[in-house]
Subunit: 317 residues, 2 copies
């Protein structure tokens, strides 16, 4: 199977059909019709074998994740996703692998109405680079920089599951909890509908990709603030709690790859945020606050506590 | 130097400053303001070490080429380039390498008013993925598919130089010719101004990246035609002729990596095309014609000749 056959078989008709795609895969470039009154929102993310995933990872998960991590960036901007390009570097043509990979990518793309409009196929070490473009009404995008001291900090979903799911091994057994945690790593859910709804409520937003311990201070610093977090208020799943016991907050804080949204909002918006969470069936939990003093303060109830990533690296679940 | 320092030092202010960039590098995604009445033109291209370039290749050339090969796709659509994203995978942080790489990318970006609005930096095998978005007045883009039987086929610049430049070694000596041929490989010139001007004249267009032998039939097939080429009319440089003698047409036909434009146009447009070439100081040479019969016919003056890529692969310059 040559390059053209791979594109025709697996990629030409992958993703959603959109009327704003004037010309998709097959020419020197794609032609797209932007919506009047909107701004474009563009991001790119990469999955490299041995770095972001281990050899033998399920290709369906890789296809899903390669798109999901981009869509999560668009969600954090409050954008509606539209079009994707994919640069795929493969050591060899494995049709079974490609079919599964395309299935994972294509299903998520269709759910979120994303058209795959172009790409590139090369020989080389296995790596997947996806670039996504979304649209947002002009001037309405969420940014990291819009927060104010006093705004409350909220997080969607639950934290720490993906990092646990990534490292689950045979010794952990195969049960409903380990399966669920693994699925949280392999099939993250980009919070696109929530992100779009947050345009009216949130003052700032970031997606939690490196762990809340890293990402909440990024939002705060961009907003010219510091932040405190109460580790007892971090949203955690029952499965994560079962697996890690009293250490669950450390995993929630530092795990990474959650692809949940962290947002700030004025305190008066709390009832509307709770209503939004119910409407979208996505938990939103308040777990901290922006403040004038720079940096990150961790609290456990009323106590200020210490935590460092380097110490956490040596913990085992 | 960590990831953030690399971005801040080498990439945050690389490329052109554009007023339509609402928000560049530094948030979850970039925010861009598209121009009313335009369509977006999107493409992505990849350079992988050991596949598209050899270890030790000059990083300034890699930065230039990674952008140029994308810009060439936009040129073939008649688009005006606007914004780029770059996903860079590096085995290690080498500041001298990064400075040269950024210099090569940045200089070409500024020449063509391209803003670098986002990207991704990862550890891994050396690879550079660039994605470019341009704009074109709605309905005015050049496509591969617009040609008609009888349209004449034209090529910009000269063909075969880059493929010769790529393989120049010590045995070829160091002189003005070898230096010039090498620069044609290392620093290809995307034909953006010519491409934009061709919107009014060409019926179809493609960029010559795999060699005219492959790319001219692609244009023809997309247009529902076949094509003949006269190998004696292929545009070749004096340096390529000096190096290859009577085999020069084979290199011009099959070399690849030219990043010139191949276009079709009705015969009546010949004078305007010649005027355009003079105006933009880019040679345009007529070397064939689209015809109803499918496939590719090679001619040498009035004789039909045979040529195969597999035979060519065994030639040496």
């Amino acid at each position: 199977m040559d390059e053209q056959a791979v594109i025709d078989t697996f990629f030409r008709h992958l993703g959603a059909v959109r009327t704003d795609v004037v010309l998709g895969i097959g020419d020197d470039a794609a032609l797209l019709r932007p919506e009047a009154g909107c701004e474009l929102v563009q991001t790119t993310d990469v999955l490299v074998e041995h770095v972001h995933f281990t050899p033998g990872s399920p290709p369906r998960s890789l296809g899903h994740r390669a798109l999901a991590i981009n869509l999560s960036d668009l969600a954090a901007m409050g954008a509606n996703p539209c079009w994707a390009l994919m640069a795929l570097t493969l050591p060899n043509i494995d049709e079974a692998w490609l079919a599964e990979f395309a299935h994972g990518f294509g299903r998520l793309a269709r759910v979120h109405k994303v058209a795959l409009v172009g790409g590139n196929l090369s020989r080389g070490p296995l790596a997947i680079t996806v670039q996504c473009t979304g649209q947002v009404p002009a001037g309405r995008a969420l940014r990291r920089s819009g927060g104010h001291a006093g705004d409350e900090l909220w997080v969607s979903g639950t934290l720490g599951d993906a990092a646990l799911g990534r490292t689950i091994g045979e010794r952990d057994g195969e049960n409903a909890d380990t399966q669920w945690l693994r699925s949280r790593f392999e099939y993250p859910t980009p919070r696109l509908e929530l992100g779009a709804a947050l345009r009216e409520l949130a003052s700032a937003c970031i997606d939690v990709s490196d762990g809340l311990f890293s990402d909440a201070p990024r939002l705060a610093a961009s907003s010219g603030c510091g932040v405190w977090l109460d580790v007892e208020q971090l949203p955690v799943s029952q499965a994560a709690r079962t697996m890690t016991g009293t250490a669950v907050w450390q995993h929630a804080l530092a795990g990474g790859e959650d692809y949940e949204l962290c947002l700030s909002a004025p305190a008066k918006e709390a009832p509307r945020l709770q209503a939004l969470a119910a409407q979208h069936a996505v938990p939103l939990q308040r777990c901290g606050q922006l403040r004038a003093e720079p940096g990150l303060e961790l609290r456990r109830g009323s106590d200020v506590i210490q935590f460092s990533l380097s110490r956490f690296d040596h913990f085992s679940p």
